[in-house]
Amino acid sequence: MQHDDPILDQAAEWAVRVGDPGFADWDAFTDWLEQDPAHAEAYDRVAAAVADAAEAEAQRDVVLPANDEAPAAQPVMRRWMSAAVAAAVLMVVAVGLWWGDQGVQTYETAPGETRLIALDDGSTIDLAADSRIALDPDRPRLATLEKGRALFTIVHDDSNPFVLDVGADRVVDAGTVFEVRLGRKALAVGVSEGLVIFNPAGQNVRVEPGQLLESPLGSSEVSVHSIALEQVGEWREGRITFERISIAELADELTSMSGLTFRAAAASAGDEVSGSVLIAPIRADPASLGPLLGLSVRPQGDGWLIEAR
């Protein structure tokens, strides 16, 4: 990048001015943009870099130390990485060392909020909205999902597999990207990469990429069926897909994901629906859900009522 780039200087100046909540001189800003298409391009670059950075800084608070030993191998030596990035990865280990022991830590998200938890070994956990997970820094390869759902991207270690407890069930990774959802009635485990073993000491079921395992809560019954790979963790892109779930479950799910309140009308709470929807447009216009799924969706009290038509 060049040192003296007058357009970049101006773009930074406008980004600072526009960024203040009191900014009102939109005509002058429009005039500057109209002078040269390169202005808008430079402004986008600066504004996006600043937004990325602010988001990264805000997220930094959740970087979690989970291991007292430096991991044997980092899975991050990819070709595209610069030396600077590699150095930054080493810093993660250092952060882990400063923290020391502090017992089990619980991470919880509010409806409409998601969180990325980074583990020392390079593994990450994407916690979906309205979910809770407990992690013990002293036992970095063990986690307990207490509520909701999460996507696990786990750096595999044959001698020390990652173990997730969900209620009475146990999920063990074998080199993996997988998602676990603790629903109202059932536990679901979907795998997009690698392999997961469900209850090795019990049913001992292998779940492979493109498969979804479901087990009703409090039962040892297990069913496995195929799903599209891109469905695993799709909520991170703001989408949910559901097949034959009750309207009551749909209302729960939408409430968690959107942060708005949805309720099922008593008479149709048990009716089943299937579909795939993006959350952001529904948050903007909840009634738009109706035509999408062939349901009636209307405001009621502080939320929205979903009813069969």
Binding site: E13, V16, L33, A49, A53, V63, R78, V89, H156
Partner: protein, 176 residues
Amino acid sequence: MTAQASPTGLEAAFLENRERLLRFLAARGAGEDAEDVLQEIWLKITARRTGPVASPLSYLFRTADLLLIDRYRARRQADRRDRAWSDVHSGATPGVSDAPSADRQLASRQLALLVQKLLDDLEPPRVGEVFRRHRIDGLTQRQIAEEFGVSLSTVESDLRRAYKALASLREQLDEV
């Protein structure tokens, strides 16, 4: 939150200033997306999920600006993901692997650390703190000037410095 029927100040401001917004969107580089973005703004204000705003016109322009920044970020993110994808899939064995394609999550954590270091290293140290107070804690530039006992123009120049440094960092990372 209650649904109310009377038209809000925002809707009136939107209808009065539609052309101005379109001109802004065009200048801002929205191209064919301009009408789309306009519709998105309309949906947003008519869903009445926003509280009363002090300056409806500024609110509309700001919403438009932020939507375009989001779109730009989403495009860049998709580009990066495509590159990471082709990287992972050149020479990697399908099926069980011991290095999951966690590029995206790793990349975001790495960015967090690089940003932290960049902000910590800016001189004088006030520059990084001013940036955090403004962009993370949401203080206005005037409030920050008071807090740090400096002039408003110093706060602005600190922020410009931080913004340019962050833009360079982003550029470097994308060139790798």
